[in-house]
Amino acid sequence: MKPEEIQKIAEIEHDMRMAYKYRIKVCCSSGCIPFGAQKLLKAFEDAVKELGLQNVCKVARTGCVGTCSVAPVVLIDPGNHLYQNVKPEDAKRIVQEHVVNGRILEEFVYKNEAYFSKQYRLVLRNAGKIDPLRIEDYISVGGYSALAKALTQMTPEQVIYEVTVSGLRGRGGAGFPTGQKWNFVAKSTAKPKYVVANLDEGDPGVFANRTLAEADPHAIIEGMTIAAYAVGAEKGYIYIRSEYPLAIQTLKKAIEQAKSYGLIGDNILGSTFNFDIELRLGAGAFVAGEETAILSSIEGLRATPRPRPPYPAVSGLWGKPTLINNVETLANVPLIILNGGAWFSKIGTPKCTGTKCFSLTGKVRNPGLIEVPMGITLKEVVYEIGGGVPEGRKFKAVLVGGPSGGCLPESMLSLPIDYESLTQAGAIMGSGGIVVIDDESCIVDTARFFIDFCMDESCGKCVPCRAGLPKVREILDKIMVGEGTEEDLKVLEELSYLIKDASLCGLGQTAPNPVLTTLNYFKKEYLSHILDGKCPAGKCNIKRMEVVKK
């Protein structure tokens, strides 16, 4: 395939699309499928056929629009009307009214303007727009033109320059400047080099990467291929959680399509650049998402992290230079190449450019998947997009950054979301989980829940994390049944600092964050367990937890 052909496919696709007056798009992502999205798709197809509207109305699948709490959802173009909680039996009526009578069925319409107005969809630009299973759809919205531009008009150095200028930083959590990382790998002289796309999103309550893979797999592939061109790699791996069957299927299909179009493989777009992508499945290990553990896992070993240095950029997969990027980071790349790094650097804040996807869950009115510009405040996210805590309950805390994130109180809600501010507050960006908890939840119990998670997911290699986290949990358990002492709080804090400072990898180094932030912002609640024998949320002291005494 030649670069010009991409343009041609895009035009043909556009014409085909325009041939239909109405386009009905059914969300077929993991959020909607369990609630009958497949049946719904079929029902709409049947309804259109039954009413004889095949030439007027096109029914297609699409990716997640983010309003997962009202699943399944259907979008009707033109006008981008979002219908919520649609059942297969409603399909015919909706087609009849909307398409034939031109009347919008108000009872189904999603009426939460604020949910979308505060968002900025960059990474998820195509979610809800295209059919993720068709590469032609992706091409029709400008897909792979960035790859063509990079290969035909830019040198690898220029690509890296644009990414550096854009200010893009790693979306996997640590926020390392992407351009710098690419530069390290590009400078390494050893061959071959590898690119690894990290899709091992293991945080409980986070599903941003999965949504991206299900809604727009080609954005990942294109970003990866551009990255490979920039650093001089010929082989790439997408490492994905095995718990994401739909995302795996979607990506598999996308890789096949890209191969058959010659967009990956040998002599891509007629150039001398070769790049091949292989999908690798995880098997349920959160720690495998860590930068060096992912390498062990791809090599078929236990996913234990390795000490750095040597850094993966120098010695990664099989001791060769390896670029590891989160898929969300990679999905930004085509836009940066097309519009220029300077354009991208204007989005968000000067130090933290671009957007970030968050899974907003817990006790909010509108949970779902959102994408917001960096620098937005937590308040805007929780209250304006999320709609605040449901009636009758009181906001207590917001957990930012997944299981090893921080637990922030109401007074911190004006905090802007960027790497530095969050880290300073004791939280992390993490992979993008925001969980709101209300006054029904106990802070100690919440901290224990996260410690529990990290303890289960600890690989066991280094002592502070392996042996320290069970002790932290033991103390929290003790406090929860009212047997804690103030001395325990001191030990708890000291242990937390040890684990934070002396652990080998990011999992251990961030695992105590929930404890440290709750000790910092909610010490009163701990003390009320210890001194008054009372749980302010009324959750503890019911002795349902087995206290580890042995």
Binding site: P34, S69, G205, L281, A283, L301, T361, L399, V435
Partner: protein, 181 residues
């Protein structure tokens, strides 16, 4: 005097074997399904790095990873058995014990936990006398716990034999399981 260490150990091995504490050696697997695993191994060109992929295939075929299967993979790929075992037990997804005929998976991700998944799980544990991660005595149900199935907006979620129950309550889940038995 040099001793043959192997022959010296035989009596102990014999005793253990009689007590049925050993998997059988030598390692022949007389099972046609094993061919499917062999094919995957060949498809990956006997590459050792794709061990996880092979374990996935084996588990898809057999439902769980028996020791003889692990040994077979170890022999075929020329990876030490302890290493295969170490990998298979590291990852939560691989099961080394035969699961029950109905799998009930509880999501204990943050969102589900905050919305009370733990209470539902405890109720199921009590009613059917099975602990999390275990299989009931009659082999009918297994309870698994997973950290996030990614449908947080519909929390709490329970998956019963591939069917997802969103916004689950104690009653809906218990009723559903009762209807299976």
């Amino acid at each position: 005097m040099t001793k043959n260490i192997y022959s010296n150990r035989l009596p102990v091995v014999q005793q253990l074997r009689e007590a049925n504490e050993l998997s059988e050696y030598p390692k022949t697997v007389s099972d046609k399904r094993i061919i499917l695993i062999d094919k995957t191994i060949a498809a990956y060109g006997y590459r050792r790095d794709a061990l996880l992929e092979k374990l996935h295939v084996a588990q898809n075929i057999y439902g769980y990873l028996e020791k003889k299967i692990l040994l077979h993979i170890s022999e075929k790929l020329k990876i030490p058995p302890s290493q295969v075992y170490g990998v298979a037990t590291f990852y939560n997804y691989f099961k080394l014990k035969k699961p029950g005929s109905h799998a009930i998976t509880f999501c204990l991700g943050t969102a589900c936990y905050v919305k009370g998944a733990e209470e539902i799980l405890s109720a199921v544990e009590r009613e059917f006398n099975v602990k999390r991660g275990e299989t009931s005595a009659d082999g009918k149900i297994s309870i698994f716990v997973t950290r996030c199935v990614g449908a947080c907006a519909m929390a709490p979620n329970v998956i019963i034999d591939d069917e997802m129950i969103g916004k689950a309550t104690k009653e809906t889940v218990l009723d559903k399981i009762r209807s299976l038995l």
